[in-house]
Amino acid sequence: MSRSLKAWRPLVAATVLAALAGAAFAQGKPAADGPRFGFGRAATPQEIAGWDIDVRPDGHGVRKGKGTVAQGQDLYDAQCASCHGTFGESNRYMAIAGGVKPEDLKTGRAAALRAPDGMRTVGTKLNYATTLWDYTNRAMPWTNPQSLTVDQVYAITAYVLHLNEIVPADFELNDGNLTKVPMPNRNGMSTNHGLASPKGKPDVSGKLCMKDCVQAVKVTSELPDFARNQHGNLAEQKRPIGPARGIDTTFYDPSAAAAKATPVAVAAAPAAADPKALVTKYACTACHGMTNKVVGPGFTEIAARYQGKPDSEAYLAKKVKAGGEGVWGPVPMPPQPALKDDEALAIAKWIVGGAR
């Protein structure tokens, strides 16, 4: 009751002000608590519902829905395993399973994080299951984000929790229990530190000494000679005029003399006709090596299989775009909906031509 009165108070004040201001308001000036500029338009509830996808640990934004571990396994194997590994073990990207110990579930502190080389996975690091749901929903699968239904997100989340031995095989995750999943590292986070606030207190501060500040200087770490050239020839990374040049780092490594520094060109949109740029742009190379199997077969391996076969270009173009499984083993290839038809064909022609 008092709450609703409170909410109305500014409006009452605005009415009084409006009466006082008279002529000014007649010219369309807003009320005192109204918008100052009036630009844009109101966002409708439907519009907000379409974009407001965030889910918070306290249950804010949780969607109605459900999914089981078993359902999640099918979805995971089809859409996630190609990058994250069948058991979530692949650390090519962040490993999503592993390292959780049974006692972690009781303490809420993942013991692995105390070990010098302990596994840092979704299981050992994450404090709330809502975050796993939220991120899967907004950003996965990586090449096709926001394509999963609400129930599918529940199912995949359930399966990943199961891979981490947090929930049993017959578990159903739903809007009623999402916020209650006892995560292994739920007590492992702290905001009690100086970096959270502009006025925070630093951990350590240097000394303002000016003379004879240290007795001896000992080098504790430096790049080994064999690593001189690991970032390319440094001579090509400094402009060739001025007080200092880049070191010619090919000097100690004759085999790398021809290697060039890699300017960042990969982010630029490649010409549609350049299939090698396309397979980088669409992250095909995440799973396919040029000649060797990574997750899927190498490009030249595919070339060997399809060279000389009729319609192989059209077949591969379709395959590249739609994805599939079973031809090269059980790990499926995810679809690539963003790939344009002419790009798929260019890639297919390149593969059939020997992937050179």
């Binding site: 640990p57 907004r138 990586w142 492992g188 504790t220 402009r239 200092a244 040049r245 780092t249």
Partner: protein, 444 residues
């Protein structure tokens, strides 16, 4: 006898109009071809090598006259939006080999060793994408503001650019900058040790202006969620303490619109805070009463401490500095005078002073600070040095206006261990060898 008029196709005495704004495609193409402007980035490396050789031969030294002095240059308008000289091809953003498995979720580093002053050219501002760089159509882009507000709003770019604007110079530093160096020396040059750092003049609307416009609930609002329009739909929680202070919704950078790599057409800027909070391709702001615990604030961008605790919402980039010349991977051109120069910054305000050492921190001299010294911006410092040709250890040490002195890596490790990845603001050491080579080292 034929008249002059008959002989000439053009009427005598009439001036042919200058071709301003009327360059044909052919004219432009011809100009480019002649000057070799079409040289690709890849060929640029070769061009640099060739240019170096030409200088070494000194065949163009006086009294000989250089070919560019003895010919007509390219016309104006040959490039509608200019690019650096082809001889500057060494100045590139670069990736650190092996750092990430995919270039769509990766980082490229600012070539700090090649830059002057405090402003980072937009074209070499470091990149960090989580799901690749989207191509956002500014006419279709929308910013939604909702949550604990009286008037949820949907704004077009037209709307946003009508609000009163501010222009401010601030740095952006990734929280993981220098993160590869927590355990040991890992990379050779300042581009890779400190290159997730840039400083620009940003233009946009103060977030506080927009929050007032939507009538945020002053009693309950404690945080703002910012969300990107890219494939990762990246989200970060911004505490009101920051949001109402100096956070901006930005569309302009260094006089032009934001580059696509930096969030075109709209991004958040949280001055002094790790870059991930300055959400690019900003599409949504939600006012709330609790933090969101988003992926990038619970799986990444959290600092692992020796006891296994993760520090969450660790945003502020503390006082830090680095010498950019001479620096790792460089070769000094003989004994004598060198200007030691570098950059200092603090997420807590202005840089108050910078000291420089050439003997590994035993003795220090105070460096000169170049105006302007701005809050939460890069500050350029300089100091004089006569290199005697012997071994040397170059260091810089910054102090900010709160009195915080940049710590050593030894001090930081004593508290934070070596596994935290983020917020390494340690003093950097460059070792100068008698042969003139400068290398990245860590000392105790």
């Amino acid at each position: 006898m034929r008249s002059v008029r008959e002989k000439s196709a053009r009427p005598i005495g009439r001036v042919v109009p200058a071709p301003e704004h009327h360059l044909s495609a052919e004219t432009i193409q011809a100009a480019k071809g002649r000057r070799g402007f079409l040289a690709s980035a890849a060929a640029g490396g070769i061009a640099v090598a060739a240019a170096g050789k030409a200088v070494a031969q000194a065949k163009d030294a006086p009294p000989a006259i250089n070919p560019w002095t003895r010919s007509l240059g390219a016309p104006v308008g040959a490039t509608g939006y200019g690019a650096p000289s082809k001889f500057e091809a060494a100045v590139q953003r670069r990736q650190s080999p092996g750092l990430t498995p995919q270039p769509q979720s990766s980082v490229s580093f600012t070539p700090l060793q090649n830059l002057f002053g405090i402003i980072t050219p937009s074209g070499v501002h470091f990149e960090r994408h989580h799901s690749g760089m989207p191509e956002v159509d500014p006419t279709q882009h929308r910013l939604m503001i909702h949550g604990l507000v009286k008037r949820p709003l949907l704004l077009t770019m037209d709307d946003i650019m009508r609000f009163p604007s501010v222009s401010r110079i601030h740095f952006i530093e990734c929280g993981a900058n220098t993160g590869m160096e927590w355990g040991n020396v890992a990379v050779p040059t300042v581009q890779y040790t400190h290159g997730m750092l840039a400083c620009s003049e940003f233009t946009g609307v103060l977030l506080s202006t927009l929050l007032d416009e939507v009538g945020y609930d002053k009693k309950t609002a404690r945080f703002v969620l910012a969300e990107g329009a890219d494939g990762s739909a990246l989200t970060r929680t911004i505490p009101m303490e920051f949001a109402l202070n100096d956070v901006m919704v930005v569309y302009g950078q260094n006089g032009e619109m934001l580059r696509p790599e930096n969030g075109y057409p709209l991004r958040l800027l949280v001055p002094g805070v790790q870059g991930v909070s300055s959400v690019k391709w900003l599409r949504r702001l939600e006012v709330g009463d609790k933090p969101w615990n988003a992926r990038e604030e619970s799986l990444h961008y959290i600092d692992l401490m020796p006891d296994g605790t993760h520090r969450q919402y660790s945003g502020v980039q503390e006082v830090k500095s680095v010498i950019t010349t001479p620096s790792g991977g460089q070769m000094l051109q003989g004994k004598g005078y060198y200007e030691i120069t570098g950059l200092a910054w603090s997420g807590r305000g202005k840089v108050r002073r910078v000291d420089v050492s050439t003997d590994g921190g035993r003795n220090w001299q105070q460096a000169r600070l170049q105006d302007p010294v701005l809050t939460k911006a890069l500050t350029r410092f300089r100091a004089d040095w006569n290199w005697d040709g012997g071994p040397a250890m170059l260091q810089s040490r910054a102090v900010d206006e709160t009195g915080h002195v940049q710590p050593t890596i030894v001090q930081l490790r004593a508290v934070r261990g070596t596994r935290s990845i983020y917020h390494n603001n340690a003093v950097q050491t460059w070792r100068v060898q008698p042969n003139g080579e400068v290398w990245n080292v860590q000392i105790a």
